[in-house]
């Protein structure tokens, strides 16, 4: 219970002062995820736009979860909040969850905008919204835990390289896999959608939104992979993350 309370407190510490004193970050963050939609819109394909909106929903929650963990390490060179928390009654998973939850809170307005757009375009129904949320949360959890675990191994890396690492991970895990586009585009390589937590979530959401046809086996495989990766990376963050220095 204390661990959950601490995670929520850390999330609030990392979200609220930022949000209160520089609210424009919310627009910036939504803008990054919405960026690819602009180019998709120019292509004029309605199907591509629908897939792009799914990608934006996933991107806004997972991209921020990933980069915030890396950004946290870069910032911690100076403000040393993480260093102070190692010497406090704070479990590393509470900290990791807090760091991941803070950008999730910041992404809520953007996510609601993308969802509202999907409802307006009649691709998202209230009946499927629950499952869409679960897929989004699992994707966010997996990616955030990957970000946290990786970040704990980067404490000695120069800040400029940290930023590059964050961007590369975002490209590799959020923007390049079939998240903004359907895996069917990849033809024989469509199995790639099972590899990344983001693309698993995207495949499921596209299925629930009726943008693609998913067989029962595919749905189960995507859910199992998504749940499996969320659990595996949470486990990894808990046991493998380097919290105390050796």
């Amino acid at each position: 219970m204390k661990a959950v309370e601490n995670a929520l407190l850390i999330a609030w510490m990392k979200f609220y002062p930022d949000f209160r004193r520089q609210p424009y970050v919310i627009i910036t963050q939504a803008g990054i995820s919405a960026g690819p939609l602009f180019f998709i819109l120019l292509s004029g394909s309605t199907a591509a736009l629908h897939n792009g909106i799914v990608g934006a929903m996933i991107s806004i929650v997972s991209f921020l979860g990933l980069t915030s963990a890396i950004h946290d390490v870069a910032q911690d060179r100076y403000v040393k909040l993480r260093e102070m928390m190692v010497a406090m009654p704070v479990h590393p998973v509470s900290y990791a969850l807090g760091v991941a939850l803070a950008p999730l809170l910041a992404s809520v307005p953007g996510l609601f905008c993308f969802m509202a757009l999907a409802i307006w375009l009649r691709i998202l129904s209230l009946a499927s919204i629950g499952l869409v949320f679960v897929a989004l949360i699992l994707g966010w959890l997996s990616i955030s835990m990957i970000g946290f675990t990786v970040s704990t191994y980067l404490t000695k890396v120069p800040p400029f390289m940290l930023n590059s690492a964050g961007h590369l991970l975002s490209l590799g895990l959020v923007f390049v896999p079939p998240v903004y586009y359907s895996e069917s585009v990849l033809g024989a390589f469509s199995w790639i959608s099972y590899v990344f937590p983001t693309s698993n979530a995207a495949s499921l959401i596209r299925g629930y939104l009726g943008l693609s046809t998913l067989h029962f086996e595919s749905i189960m495989s995507h859910w199992l992979t998504l749940i499996g990766t969320a659990l595996a990376f949470s486990f990894l963050a808990s046991f493998k993350a380097r919290w105390r220095e050796r």
Partner: protein, 295 residues
């Protein structure tokens, strides 16, 4: 306590320290002496290579979670997060250490009043001076009810007035029963605030005791400082004497000897003054002396 880093650097080579409850104990040493390594091991941030350390009876390696309930730290070279206010630092850190909401508000207020930041509590740290920022961090450590404060160069980079404000806060904390482990390379700070201190150099302890006791570890009690055409003054056969640019510093054991040297210098038209040896003089002697050749 021994700590050897992965690259083979021996940061601590068998430091043995016992700190009494309710005292301010200072680790004094030059940069790279091993002070921060020691602090980081005690605060459970870093694992020792060998040796044992206990905080209020709890092993810092195997009982780290119990240790966490009793300590508060201020890391070395810590900067404030510009968008936080001193209030947020003090309140959130108290909450994270398990202090309930209403009590955390009271302890945050007490901590901010103690460091003289209550009036500035709602200003963002970005708008505070260097000393105020440092005091905001110290407030985060004080707001927790922790029995043991581990402070790594908390006054580094502060001006004399801000430094003295922090010293005053530290002595007040000791008066209230806190135990403080302070690291510094500021000799004056160590002399002014410590109940006891240890001088460490190259990972080894070279002296320990109260500031007066440590100053008593060398035979010389006074120093005579000459300025001017010091080359005219006949050099003494004393390896402890030091030349710093155009100043000649001589260490003597008693007042009479100091007075004789001063008279002699004044007769030669040099400027001279006598003062008791400082902790810094003792530190330089014990740490292997000053390199007269390079000066």
């Amino acid at each position: 306590m021994v700590k050897v880093y992965g690259d083979g650097v021996k940061a601590l080579q068998g430091i043995n320290v016992s700190i009494k409850k309710g005292e301010l104990y200072t680790l004094l040493g030059p940069n790279g002496a091993g002070k921060t390594t020691f602090q980081r091991i005690i605060s459970t941030q870093l694992m020792p290579t060998s040796g044992k350390a206990y905080v209020l009876g709890y092993d810092v390696v195997s009982e780290a979670s119990e240790v966490h309930g009793h300590i508060s730290i201020v890391p070395q070279d810590v900067a404030t997060y510009g968008i936080y206010t001193p209030w947020e630092y003090a309140y959130y850190f108290a909450r994270l250490r398990g202090v309930p909401k209403q009590k955390a508000k009271k302890t945050a207020e007490k901590a901010l009043r103690a460091v003289g930041l209550w009036e500035l509590r709602n200003r963002t740290c970005a708008t505070l001076s260097g000393g105020e920022k440092r005091r905001a961090i110290i407030a985060s450590a004080l707001s927790s009810f922790a029995d043991v404060l581990l402070l790594d160069e908390p006054t580094s980079g502060l001006d004399a007035i801000a430094r003295r404000n922090v010293w005053s806060v530290l002595r007040q904390m000791v008066k209230e029963g806190k135990t403080i482990l302070l690291t510094t390379h500021n000799m004056e700070e160590a002399e002014m605030v410590s109940d006891r201190l240890a001088i460490i150099n190259k990972g080894q302890m070279i002296a320990e005791g109260s500031p007066d006791a440590v100053k008593g570890l060398i035979a010389e009690k006074y120093r005579v400082v000459l300025e001017g055409e010091i080359t005219r003054f006949p050099a003494r056969e004393n390896e402890k004497d030091t030349m710093i640019g155009d100043r000649y510093i001589m260490y003597v054991e008693n007042e009479n000897e100091a007075a004789d040297l001063m008279k002699k210098a004044l007769k030669m038209g040099l400027r001279a003054h006598i003062s008791p040896v400082t902790l810094e003089d003792v530190f330089v002697k014990l740490a292997g002396g000053f390199d007269n050749e390079s000066s």
